[in-house]
């Protein structure tokens, strides 16, 4: 191309290149943006419930045992201590998110995935968990057990 010698067409060529480039760039972005937004899941509606009534009665939980319950969309664990007290925690391990269980032989809460131990106050006492379990408040209303956020 020898349009350069004529002056004007060279800048026209540059302008057209720029126009083409930005058009292609815009096209790519306008395709990619919806795709990326599509892949990101919509925000889940936070469970409005700040307390739940458990589907089992206080008598059904023997001393030195634990049971998993649904706290909204998340799992919780209800523990009856060897002395007969009811305690409830979030059952999601603070290490890598497994669901914990009550170990009657140890008398405390344990996570099978990476061997994390929590005492009966939910505190991380051994193994890799870096933080304590979330503690729920337990209320007994007659036979029913109501578990709520906060202590």
């Amino acid at each position: 191309m020898n349009q350069d010698a004529r002056g004007a067409p060279a800048s026209r060529r540059r302008f057209l290149d720029w126009l083409l480039g930005t058009t292609i760039g815009g096209l790519v972005v306008s395709v990619l943006y919806p795709v990326v937004r599509y892949i990101v899941p919509p925000p889940a509606s936070e469970s409005a419930a700040s307390s739940v009534t458990l589907p089992f009665t206080a008598q059904e939980v023997a001393p030195n045992t634990g049971r998993i319950f649904k706290f909204g969309s998340r799992p919780g664990i209800l523990v009856r201590t060897p002395s007969g007290e009811l305690r409830a925690f979030g059952a999601t391990c603070t290490h890598l998110g497994c669901i914990v269980q009550y170990r009657p032989d140890l008398g405390h809460v344990w996570c099978a995935c990476h061997n994390g131990h929590f005492d009966l106050n939910g505190r991380n006492i051994a193994g890799p968990p870096p933080a304590p379990l979330e503690v729920f408040a337990v209320h007994e209303r007659g036979d029913q057990i109501v578990v709520g956020k906060g202590t």
Binding site: V40, C98, V100, C113, P129
Partner: protein
């Protein structure tokens, strides 16, 4: 039409196709291809073996799609149906599961042999990078495929595996949500993993395999530095048919091993996943993730004020980056001598993986 004219037409088919496809040039290139013969030639068979197992995975994977249903309500039941009712359903699924394990195993051997024999030296940096990409894809295949039967073991392995992504500093939470399709591992995670496992990974896998094979053709087989130093001219073996026939023997052996494993140790299904039960004791991931799993288990809660698992995850990430850039770091020193430190690093990695895998399988799960 008489038999004679039919034969005439048939023999005319060759030139007819050739004039349209023009493959004679390709065939000429293929005939020229040869492989150096020396004491490490055995390692050259592992890439082809991995490719063979990958092809088996595609074949059996397509067959599994005929019955599999990707939803939290139906996935487990559809696999149960496949195993119990469908003729040879157990065989197809068992071969898919076993070939996956064998493929990862031969891939690891292929990777470690390329690492120790320093096959990544110039001009094969891109071959190494594409191979590392394929290793990542294979692990992604294993991780996503593990969840699809929607059983208890898979459910918790996925909870932990995705949570590891969440531990990554800054963008972890975002990627955790994208990977899980929400806050928790749920049916949304299953459909995502399904899409990744049967569409995204195979498509990108085939593309990268194509690039990897092209590069291997272009540069030929890498001769290990130790053999190269000896200076003698190496005998060479024709690829067609000598090397390929040896390949075929290996593939037949692999097929026999697969059939035996599938028949005597069919893939298990276990219990259906329940997001509201405790993780069972003895929970563990696939064997090729065991060394990472065990490392995370052994790390203390806090290291120098940082959360232990974050240190572990970032550490593995840095190790992966190191392996990726290895061809650009491992430059020959003065006089073209290779630096022995990289051999020791390679051996160190292998020892680490083997020792932690061993601990993972022998330590009592309840301690």
């Amino acid at each position: 039409m008489s038999l004679g004219s039919l034969r005439q037409r048939f023999t005319a088919l060759g030139p007819w196709l050739e004039s349209r496809l023009g493959l004679a040039g390709l065939w000429a290139v293929a005939r020229k291809k040869d492989v150096p013969v020396h004491r490490h030639t055995l390692w050259y068979y592992l890439g082809g073996m991995t490719l063979f197992l990958f092809v088996i995975q595609i074949g059996t994977g397509v067959l599994l799609l005929f019955y599999y249903r990707p939803s939290a309500e139906e996935a487990f039941e559809s696999v149960q149906f496949l195993m119990a009712e469908v003729q040879f359903g157990w065989l197809i699924r068992s071969i898919h599961a076993w070939a996956a394990n064998l493929m990862i195993f031969t891939l690891f051997l292929h990777f470690f042999s390329a690492l120790l024999l320093r096959a990544y030296r110039a001009p094969r940096e891109l071959t190494w990078l594409s191979g590392m990409g394929l290793l990542g894809l294979a692990l992604g295949f294993g991780f996503t495929g593990y969840l699809l039967p929607w059983n208890e073991l898979a459910y918790f392995a996925t909870r932990v595996g995705t949570q590891i992504v969440g531990v990554v500093p800054v963008a972890g939470d975002f990627f955790l949500r994208v990977l899980r399709g929400g806050e928790e591992v749920s049916g949304a995670t299953l459909t995502r993993f399904y899409a990744i496992h049967v569409a995204l990974l195979p498509a990108s896998g085939l593309a990268i395999v194509g690039l990897h094979l092209y590069l291997v053709q272009k540069h030929g087989m890498s001769v290990p530095p130790g053999v190269e130093r000896s200076g003698t001219a190496l005998p060479r073996m024709r690829f067609f048919p000598n090397f390929l026939l040896r390949d075929l023997v290996g593939w037949l052996a692999a097929l026999a091993i697969l059939a035996a494993l599938a028949a005597f140790l069919p893939a298990e299904l276990g219990k259906k996943a329940d997001p509201f039960t405790s993780a069972p004791a003895g929970i563990r991931p696939e064997w090729y993730f065991m060394f990472m799993f065990q490392t995370l288990k052994l790390l203390p809660a806090h290291i120098l004020g940082l959360e232990g698992e974050m240190v572990g995850v970032v550490g593995f990430g840095l190790a992966a980056v190191f392996l990726l850039v290895l061809p650009f770091v491992d430059r020959p020193g003065q006089g073209g001598r290779l630096q022995p430190v990289f051999t020791w690093i390679g051996i160190g990695i292998i020892v680490f993986v083997i020792v932690l895998t061993y601990i993972g399988y022998t330590v009592s799960p309840t301690k």
